[in-house]
Amino acid sequence: MTDTSPGQAPSLAPGALGPVGDQPEREFTVTARTSGQMVRRRFLRHRGAMGGLAVLVAVILLAFTSIGFGPVDGWWGKDYTRTAPVVDGGQMTLDLLPFVDGDGLAVGEHPFGQDNVGKDYFALTMRGTQRSLIIAFVVGLVSMLVGLLVGTLSGYFRGITEGVLMRITDVFLTIPLLVIAAVVSRRWSGAGIVVLGLVLGLVVWVQLARLVRGEFLSLREKEFVEAARALGASGPRIILRHLLPNTIGTVIVNVTLIISAAILLETALSFLGLGVQPPDTSLGVLVSVYQTASMTRPWLFWWPGLFIIAIALSINFIGDGLRDAFDPKQTRVRA
């Protein structure tokens, strides 16, 4: 590492610590990385998370481009509401096993088959995926905002604010999540999926609020906060500049997990008839409608289920990668 040559004392010459004058550039240079860069680097090296991210992006692109969204038309010509004559008993025409029957890869007319009245099941599944994704991300967003607000207020201001807010979270914690979600969504399930997402978000923020409060309770006693206060920083400034940035890891990781849980929660509620209401559809509605078809026409049952798993699993892997990336103790990148 150093330029010790025979005859010289093996001590560190002043020039050894950096390129000085005409000395050659050192072989190894150490550049300082910000914590953001380190987190990004650890995340990008996490194979599971990268795989999850790839799958999630693929699913989102497939769902939103294929049948289009809103006024924009997609490349898949069929509509999820249009009925057509049932071809070949609604069999799926997708063929991903070219070596088994020897007729090669094929997408065909109805890759996921058709349902009872001849609706294209691929279009239906894509529509369901869109709905479930939108609900899950709305839930994630709403619960993040509420959780951050409640956690911040109760963690920073303590006293009576904390007492009241924590008793409210205790009330929510006492009720099994599915139960309160079912009760709430029964009232608002007819009002459209965004409202449903909003309402569910108002139910699942509790865990996040408690975590944020915990972080705040320990951070607000740290020296750098005291220093900021001594310099005359106002409460909002301390919260926004000093405390919130330090909780960002916890928040991001947990919002990811909330989104994956929200996919499962929404589909479960729709399955029970308490979530998305027909004629609109979601992955849970599809599983619920075609659960009796699992014997005779298994593809009607398998595809929505597989999409639920693909979304939830990929988000869980991303969450795991983020957790490792934000963990400063993490040196080795696993999986």
């Binding site: 009720i175 599983v287 939830a312």
Partner: protein, 509 residues
């Protein structure tokens, strides 16, 4: 301690009060309870509407209805008053409905929680000890997969493949060469991953496990075991002695002869007992079974004292454990023997897909037990997958943390064997945080139970809840809610107390 518990109870009481008010209000505004009557065509429609309005107090504002309900519930707390949980829309007493439903649901939830804890903790510890091995990665992936599985979807799949098709298979049990080899390879992979060690040892374990599995399957098919399952005295003896050796290995190591002899003696007592008690075991009842299980404790302790030499406490522990496991073997043997008779009674559809028991089923103790088990099997499996993943991941994390503690290094530095380090120093401490997880997990299991009851057609509390909710009928929903919320609150408190008791660093305040 007492002050802490009292304070906790008072706070919990007010939280429950707030939660019930919230849920009552939400159910009451969730829809119009008279909706189905508006479409009614019968001439006495007006009467029906008036009747239901009167019964549900729809002419009163919601807060007043809540107070009426609360006054009824308050009688449950005051002794000698008799509970009043109100009636549902059609006038049935919710207390009676809940009483009928609670049995089935609690059975489901408790079995699922217990099985998930036992398997999850075991798997979590093994995967922590074999960190970054193939087994560890497999379990990690499986845990992520289970977290991402929709319960209702899995439940339908289980119904399809583990019930309907498995029953079909049982009608004519045959295993083709390809599935047979696949099962053998699977078993070989699992065992070699769990036992671990050098490459050579792993290969040996792999080969032996493969061969044993295939031979075992061939033997079972040859003797028509799947039609007439049982262990028989021979296998019970072999398994019991194997259990004795295994328990000794875990508790103290085989070189402690006293412990080994005590365990073997306990296994022997169990083996002899199954013949001596044959008359009792013909058609026992639950109190008798529990009494027999309880009697293994003093017998085991006695054997430990007699054979234990210098390791009396360890010998007693090993003997009690062996005795209980041998008893379980004998119990399993008896239950399996009853399967054929049971199968005849239900036309060969052994694994049930509907309900919590066969309606009007009468039989001896063993057949009734099989009936319960076959009805419980699939819903339990569906619910416990997620819990299993939670416990496995959590135990793995705490175990890894404990294994890197200083006192574990000290224990190793003292020259203790790896078994002693793991079993006596690390394992117990790793279990302490798991107690808190139990309380958190309980609510999730109840949510899972609501869904699986729906899929498997159980007449449980979940059905009561969903039906009540769909009709905007608060009383059944509140009955379900009060029971689950109270149990969650109590579970939470017990978990906190247990945590403080197990970990002296925690102070309750």
């Amino acid at each position: 301690m007492i002050v802490y518990i009292v304070r906790r109870l008072v706070v919990s009481f007010f939280i429950l009060l707030g939660a019930t008010a919230l849920v009552f209000w939400l159910v009451a505004i969730s829809g119009d309870p008279l909706e189905d009557l508006y479409a009614d065509q019968s001439p006495n429609k007006e009467d029906k509407i008036a009747e239901r309005t009167r019964r549900m107090h729809l002419d009163q504002p919601i807060p007043q209805r809540y107070l009426t309900w609360l006054a009824g519930v308050a009688k449950c707390v005051v002794p000698g008053q008799g509970c009043d949980l109100g009636t549902n829309q059609t006038g049935q007493d919710v207390k009676v409905l809940l009483g009928n439903a609670a049995g089935a649901t609690l059975r489901l939830v408790l079995v699922a929680v217990v099985v998930a804890i036992v398997i999850g903790v075991t798997v979590g510890i093994v995967s922590a000890l074999r960190q970054y091995s193939g087994f560890d990665y497999t379990i990690t992936f499986a845990a992520f997969l289970f977290f991402s599985l929709p319960v209702f979807w899995v439940a339908v799949l289980l119904k399809q493949y583990l019930a309907i098709e498995f029953n079909d298979w049982l009608a004519d049990p045959r295993i083709g060469p390809v599935p047979m080899i696949a099962l053998g390879l699977l078993s070989g992979l699992t065992w070699s991953a769990v036992i671990g060690g050098e490459r050579r040892r792993r290969l040996t374990v792999f080969g032996v496990a493969c061969a044993v599995t295939v031979l075992l399957l061939l033997y079972l098919l040859a003797v028509d075991w799947f039609t007439y399952p049982a262990l028989g005295p021979g296998l019970v003896t072999v398994f019991a002695l194997g259990t004795a050796v295994g328990v000794t290995e875990l508790v103290s190591g085989l070189h402690r002869r006293g412990v080994l002899h005590a365990s073997l003696a306990a296994a022997g007592v169990g083996i002899i007992a199954q013949f001596v008690l044959a008359g009792v075991l013909e058609d026992p009842s639950w109190p008798v079974v529990l009494l027999l299980a309880a009697s293994t404790v003093p017998i085991g302790i006695g054997l430990g004292m007699v054979f234990g030499q210098l390791d009396k406490p360890q010998a007693a522990r090993a003997a009690v454990l062996t005795g209980l496991l041998t008893g379980t073997l004998v119990f399993t043997d008896r239950a399996l023997s009853a399967v054929h008779g049971y199968s005849q009674r239900v036309n060969g559809r052994i694994v049930a897909t509907i309900g919590s028991d066969t309606p009007n089923f009468t039989g001896d103790f063993w057949q009734r037990f099989i009936d319960t088990v076959t009805h419980l099997a699939l819903p339990t499996l569906a619910i416990m997958l997620i819990s299993f993943a939670t416990y496995a991941r959590f135990t793995r994390a705490t175990m890894l943390e404990v294994m890197s503690q200083d006192y574990v290094r000290t224990a190793r530095a003292k020259g203790l064997t790896e078994r002693t380090v793991v079993m006596r120093h690390a394992f117990r401490n790793a279990l302490i945080p798991v107690t808190t997880l139990m309380a958190i997990d309980f609510g999730g299991v109840i949510g899972g139970a609501v869904i699986t009851e729906n899929v498997f057609g159980w007449e449980g509390m979940g059905t009561l809840f969903i039906n009540g909710l769909e009709r905007s009928d608060p009383n059944p929903v509140m009955g379900f809610f009060v029971l689950t919320a109270t149990s969650i609150v109590i579970f939470n408190m017990l978990a906190d107390i247990a945590y403080a008791y197990l970990d002296p660093r925690i102070r309750m305040s």
